[in-house]
Symmetry: D4
Subunit: 234 residues, 8 copies
């Protein structure tokens, strides 16, 4: 193995500093998504071009606005979603319609995480219905939408602070609930630990949890659930 | 100061191993309550007799069934509340009626903590209304009692696991809510830490929190609130 | 609300110490399951009989062998699964066949948690395929079964210690992966915290996580996923 | 539900990114207060105008000075309390006098948290008496004010470092004590964790605790206590 | 070095499983003290005999009552202090009188830790004055003894729960204060972490802290302080 | 894959509840070692017989004395090392001599962990030199053996409490140092966390760390180091 | 009590936002020292002037260089010690010579904390001997100074990373050792937690510990020890 | 000892603020390496010159780009490796060839830590083979290089997030594996804690672990292993 030049191995494009997994879509359903944190703008651009050329589109997550500004001249045509901190270059393939994914968000301060999920799902060709600011301090906001929510195929529930929303929602529906804790809160949220532990300890059934602020991971899990449903229905 | 014999100081009965605060009721509203853990049966009995003789009754909390059995011959007439792990000797003074205290308990497994609160409140002469097993996984159980709950003067809400119940309740009422996390739960409850952090991060207003499994502390706080109300109304 | 006698509210059977959510199956797909820890044998028996009479079967989880022995005369015909620490009384309704659920278990020491998931799924009428002792220290054990695993509809992956198995599996399949950390391990597993954090931080997509040792929760999440698939395919 | 336009539901004003709980005052005693962190200036302004138009005033907490500067042209007439990091627009309704709320603050470095409580209480129409820099290292400062403190109706006690002040105060008074830990301290305060744990473990009775640095939450709890007293005295 | 037989090195008696530091007294002021936890009865007895033969006495700490019973026939004449969990064999050398060490203990449940300190100090030939059950919930108990306390040469302050006593004491005296947190408390004491952090964050000056429940360590630190004083005064 | 019967895959012996990695020795240098915790006696016996039949010996770690007693009739000829909590059945192959492995142990209470390492190394055919009770409180014990220690090929350093020994040793030698934290200590060792963090933060070079109480892992790492040396020297 | 104007109470100068403890020196040996963090420049200046006018000097700790710059025009003649982050205004009273305080510092990166201790001690009129960069990775640096160190009256030992230096030092001397953990280190030092736990778990006797980075607290404790010695020797 | 001027002791160059361990290479195999964090540019320059003059080269780690810019005029000829945050002045001595060190890196975001290891090893005269971006989400990337990896003498495996790579690698090779957790990851990586715990709990044998982000420490450990091999082979 060498230190910089391109090399070849089946299912891999080796750029030296990165080994692109070109077999990812065939194996797991989607091409690689680039995690932007800790990478230089040049590294992101080189990886993004390889994936874009092969797949027709590429998604970058956890991209700061400074990184996005640096990427602009290198990846013309890319769209930066500032609140979601995601960049999308190219056009994902169309999918035939499936059940919508309900994206519930406890408070307006949780929107960046919810939007990371939404942008990812839209890059995967999914239909997202957003239910924003629907936290448990005013239950009627949730109860007023519950029939619409029950019509979705899977729910992503984003909440900071005590993270109680997924428990309450899961007690009202017959759907898989993917809970996403956020780092929003006063001191003893400890960067989202409070919401994370709350969601892991949910007394309601059918809840599973992703990492703190990980809207991307929740989108992947929700998408995988719909792919099962599609496989069964074929 | 000496090492064993009784000594005298104003507001103190000094037993050597213990200094009983005989001025507590005058200063804080109630006589001393004995924390049973880590004390020998003999120590508890000696302290209990001093308080009982002066005040007419005495409460011991955090008392194991072994300790209670050991105390039986030493404190005749005492009643041990096994589930609450509390022992009461003598009869607290009657109080004139006030608003009831609502005691909400998320699950049946949380009952020992709720009962510690209830026994303490009853030793303080309060009227307690119990709402057991009313957790958020089946919201209609709570909503069906909400009018009755709103008629209370203050609420104690006991919950383990994710500890979501106080947030939901506080969003529905115009009352002080004292939240008590319990150590009930699967692994990542970490002995009640999950519920504790959840309650501290409550998105609803008016919630304050006591230590894990501390039904006694919640009872004291609720009682203090009613004493304010009584002072105002006199 | 009263303190002991039965009372009536729609969707609730109130036993005083417990409020059975009799509307749970209609709302969430399954009747209530009883969490055994912290409840007395008498409480469990009373709740179990109410659910069994209404639904034809009832499942109790987190039941110690001592509790199970105490329940035996009270719930005749109940079967106790010792390793899973679950008790099942009655016969769940038959379901029409769906995709199997793959249950992967990293090591033999993780079996109690895996069995809690398996017994729960079988009580839900699901078909479970077990892949035991398939951890990452000997990858060929996993790779040798990978085609069989890919034919499942959803995967539950149970692992203690570093909890790496879900990441490796999720990189090889196009399926939802529900990861269950266990408390198995040397000192710095900190009761399963190591595996929990490992799974939450999985670099592979489509992984969501349940509480430590919570095989029951994983079973509920997997079951909910298949219900979506069944709804779509109808 | 849609993605941006206003919509209608009883008790809700739906702005798309936010669902204002217009029934909050009726249900819980006060209109919604806006948590400023993580929201854009535009979002805050839009929410604030809706609440202000309906209620006559609106409070924003956790608002940085940069956000406040951005809001200035959008919310003319608003007053920013820099130390409390709160903004108040409009005039809260007058309340008839009640007992004063004693606001005790252990050190001058804890003032921002104490001021968040004070500004909130004043927005709620309450009378606050401030006892600043009254920590336990110089007990005579507290003892010299104790008669004045005992004349209050409820106490909020703000302290960082070891958080000992609430215990000492609660041992001297017959009043509800709401303890607020702050993040002030040397290294092992761990962002206020030391004070938080200290207050939760208070050996004195009648203490309940809010989140770290959460002066707002303490104000809500204190206000709710006085509302009970007022209800009783009517 | 070899595996079992005795061997010789200056300042060491090598028993194979243990290397006794026979130069400890000359270097650090006292002979080795045996930490009993995790050692077999036979190992303790062999080490104890070597130290006793050389120094005239030996102290064992952290010795369970089972271990003590096992040691009885092996170390005739040894005295086991059950509450302190310490065993003393032989007679420590007399010391000429110095200032007394004040041993303050917040509650009766903290006595085992205080007694570990007291027994150790008495083995070191020190004069200990005990002030038991003098916690901050009833300040007058402390204030009533403060002149006596000020006459000591150094203070050891033992407290569990929130660990506030050292701060309050240190604000009232002109003496070194050694704080010892104990593991006494309700859930969120987390085995003494709350008291430990409280003491480390003391707002009062001159406080230093030992490990949780480490009465022995506090005794060593207090003794070392008096040795300095003695050296200066010679 | 099926649920109980034996099955065949290259490099695997499938017992249903366990998949023995029969290719482990060829790939990693040693056959599988059985982790005893959480397995039934029957499971251990079945796995042990398969490995023993193929490899001529088998090692079981983390085996309680109860489990060992249960295994005795099932695995005749097995030797249980009680302090190490290890069982060895059969005779490992002889190895040609290499450099000795120095096993340093800070205190006698750390011996169980050190013995787990020693028994494992001896099962691997290694020569171990034990340096027991050589902690930093009496440095001359270490310095007196330092030339002997420098003649080893690799060092395993076992210590509880503050875990300082590996740092001191690594500053004195030109050898790889494998540090093993133990759970020995007073309260704030938090089950070995203190020693673990201490070792990870060693200011001396060449130290790497294993899990708390993991003598087995340290033995594997030391053995792997000597295998490299042997490969180079061939 | 009022909100801003000066008021009078014995032993207190009340500035409204601060209550200066003017009796501190008489009670505890030194006048108040100002903790700079979280205070405005104006607040510091006003408090400093009151103390300076009464005592002839005043010390401010934890003062950033920005705060110091802001204070310069307000407190003419003050000297800012940048590395120690301390400001001293005026001249402390002379003390008659006593034993020197040995200040040991493990590494050059720990100097800011050591200097906070040194500046404080010099403000207290103490003689400090500095032993910098004397950590355990090169033991001969410490051993070469050990006779000089033994001639001190008390030792302050400052160390980051694993914090092993206090243990090693305490095993070599017959002196009180005050250990100060610093936040210096790679990732798993967790802001000084590793060094803190290491020091609390010291296997050597006579060590007590202050908060992370708290050189000031260590200086106070060391000074108090010398005051005892001085009292004895009078 | 004095406060600033140079002094002499065997094996030490005393600069007052630093005591250079000039005997380090003889004792431990390499001269001192300077830890840059928390030191001023002037301090680093003075220490560096002393080491460089004696040894012919010097390495500085954890050096920010600002510090490096400040050092440029003071240490002419020094080379700053920005990604590794290391500076090298002078030329290390040549070594005769040995086995290569395999440096495996899970993701491109982990490169800074891997480069710290690589630069250190190259300063030690070692041959490093880099395998970048080879994490477990695409196993074929690792499996495709496994024969090349097996030809190395020792492996350093760098990974963030769940830190699973070392376990998988160690199950495939017969080599010592030094695992380096990085702080790369979403919220619940808690600054690398997740990867650290994962690696400490590795189910594969032969893994030992360094501090979070400590590429330097891993390089030292790997180098020490090769030195053993070289000693054996001589």
């Amino acid at each position: 193995m060498s230190n910089g030049e391109e090399a070849t191995q089946e299912g891999v494009v080796n750029l030296g500093f990165a080994r692109i997994d070109s077999a990812r879509r065939g194996r797991c359903g989607h091409p690689e998504v680039i995690f932007g944190e800790g990478k230089t703008v040049e590294e992101i651009a080189r990886i993004a071009r390889v994936i874009h050329d092969k797949e027709g589109y590429v998604l970058v997550t956890r991209l700061s606005s400074q990184q996005a500004a640096g990427l602009e001249p290198l990846l013309t045509g890319a769209v930066y979603h500032a609140r979601a901190r995601c960049l999308l270059l190219g056009m994902p393939p169309q999918k035939k319609p499936s059940l919508p994914i309900g994206l519930l968000c406890a408070g307006t301060s949780d929107l960046p995480v919810a939007e990371e999920a939404a942008v990812t799902l839209e890059a995967f060709g999914r239909h997202v219905v957003r239910y924003h600011d629907i936290g448990v301090a005013g239950l009627h906001r949730l109860l007023g939408e519950i029939e619409s929510i029950r019509a979705c195929g899977v729910l992503i529930v984003v909440a900071g602070m005590e993270g109680a929303l997924p428990s309450v929602v899961a007690g009202l529906v017959d759907l898989p609930v993917i809970a996403v804790p956020t780092s929003v809160g006063y001191g003893a949220s400890f960067g989202g630990l409070a919401a994370l532990l709350g969601m892991l300890n949910s007394c309601a059934n059918g809840v599973s949890v992703t990492n703190i602020d990980n809207g991307f991971g929740a989108a992947c899990a929700a998408d995988a659930i719909l792919r099962v449903a599609e496989r069964v229905s074929q």
